[in-house]
Amino acid sequence: MTKELEHSFVTQLEENQNIVHKICRLYTNDSDSHNDLFQEITIQLWRAFPKFRGDSKFSTWMYRVALNTAITLYRKSKRSIKTQDFEGVSFKITAETYDDTVEEQLKLMYNAVKNLNDIDKALVFLYLEDKNYKEISQTLGITEVNARVKMNRIKEKLRTILNP
C-alpha cells in the first residue's frame, strides 16, 4: 500500500517537477537554497499526499502546497532571502533572441518581482504561469475579486519600481 502510494507520488512529482523548480527560483537566490526548498516542498507534498483525493488536478494541488511551503519558509527566514543578488540567479536570456534593452528590461522586471513580498510573489507567479483569476483565487484561497484587485495593485507597484 505504502509502496504504491510512494510510487504514484514520485511519478507524478517527477512529471510536474517544473512547477516546484520555478517556485524555488522565485523564492531563493542560490542553488543551495533552491535545493533545500525543493526538498522541503517535496517532503511537505509527501506528507499532504494521503489527503489529496484527486478532486482537483495533481498539479493544481501541487501549486497550493508548494506555494504555501515557500511562503511559510520565506516568512521564517525573511532576512536571509531578502538580500537580492540577481547575477547569482541563473535566469538566462539568450542574447540572440533579445536585444540589450529588452534583456535589461526583463532583468529589471524579474528583479522587481523577486523583491515583492511573499504573497504578492505567489500571485505574480501564478499569473506568469498563465493561470486565470479563478484558478489563482482557488490556489491561494482568496476570492476572485480579491485576486483581481491584488493583481492590479501589484502591477501598479511594479510600475513604480521600474519607473521611479
Binding site: E6, F9, V10, T11, L13, E14, Q17, N18, H21, K22, R25, H34, F38, Q39, T42, I43, W46, S90, F91, K92, I93, V102, Q105, L106, L108, M109, Y110, V113, V124, Y127, L128, E129, D130, K155, L158, R159, L162
Partner: protein
C-alpha cells in the same frame, strides 16, 4: 504592463533551463525522514536523563538512610557521577548522528549514518540495562556481607521488618530484592523496547528502502 507580459512570455519559454531531477533523486528525498527519526532519538535521550534525575528525588528518605548508614554513600555518589558522564557522552553521540544525517545527501552516506545511529542506540540500551543489573548485583552482594548491620538498619527505618525474626530476615530480604530487581529490569527493557524500538524499526525500514535504490 508590457514588461510583465514580456516576462510571462519569457517565463514559459525557458522551461527547458530548469533542473531535471530523476525518479531516484526525488525518491531519496522522501527518505530524509530518517533525519527526523534521529532527531527524536536525540530529544528522547535528553528527556530520559531528566526523567532519571527527577526519579532520583523520589527515592524515600528511609532508603537513603539505610545506604548511608551501611557505608554506601560515597559509592553511590561515584556511580551517579560516572552514570551522568556516560549519559553526556551518549547525548553528544546522538547529537552528532543527528547533525551528520541532516547534511548527508548521498544514499550511501545516509545508509552508513542509519547503521551508525542504530548501533549507538543499541550500545546505549546495553549500557543502561547492563549498568542497572551490575549495580543491583553489586549492592546486594555488599548487603549480604553486612547483613547483621542491615537488619538493625531495616528495623529502624521500616516498621514491618521488626516483626521478622532475625534467622528469617536474610531469606525474606534477598528474595524480595531479587523479585524487585527482576521486575525493575523487565520494566526497563519494556520501556526501551517501546521508545527506541519503534524508532529503530522505522530507521530499519528506511534503510531497506535505501538499499533497494542503491542496487
Amino acid at each position: 504592463m508590457d514588461e510583465l507580459e514580456l516576462l510571462k512570455k519569457q517565463w514559459q519559454e525557458r522551461e527547458q533551463d530548469l533542473p531535471k531531477l530523476s525518479y531516484q533523486e526525488i525518491y531519496s528525498m522522501l527518505l530524509k525522514k530518517s533525519s527526523s527519526i534521529v532527531k527524536w532519538i536525540f530529544f528522547i535521550s535528553i528527556a530520559e536523563i531528566a526523567l532519571w534525575t527527577i526519579l532520583a528525588f523520589l527515592v524515600p528518605e528511609s532508603s537513603k538512610e539505610i545506604n548511608n548508614g551501611i557505608g554506601l554513600k560515597t559509592t553511590f555518589l561515584i556511580v551517579n557521577i560516572v552514570n551522568y558522564a556516560v549519559f553526556a557522552v551518549f547525548i553528544f553521540l546522538f547529537y552528532k548522528n543527528y547533525r551528520t544525517i541532516k547534511v548527508t545527501d548521498s544514499i550511501k552516506g545516509l545508509m552508513g549514518n542509519i547503521l551508525r545511529t542504530r548501533r549507538t542506540v543499541k550500545y546505549f540500551v546495553i549500557y543502561n540495562v547492563g549498568a542497572a543489573i551490575l549495580l543491583l548485583i553489586g549492592v546486594n552482594l555488599y548487603y549480604y556481607t553486612k547483613k547483621e548491620k542491615l537488619y538493625v538498619l531495616m528495623q529502624e527505618n521500616f516498621e514491618g521488618y521488626a516483626a521478622i525474626p532475625p534467622e528469617k530476615f536474610t531469606s525474606v530480604f534477598f528474595l524480595s530484592q531479587v523479585i524487585g530487581g527482576v521486575i525493575m529490569i523487565g520494566l526497563l527493557l519494556i520501556f526501551y523496547r517501546l521508545i527506541y524500538g519503534i524508532l529503530l524499526r522505522r530507521l530499519k525500514r528506511n534503510y531497506k528502502e535505501l538499499k533497494k535504490i542503491e542496487v
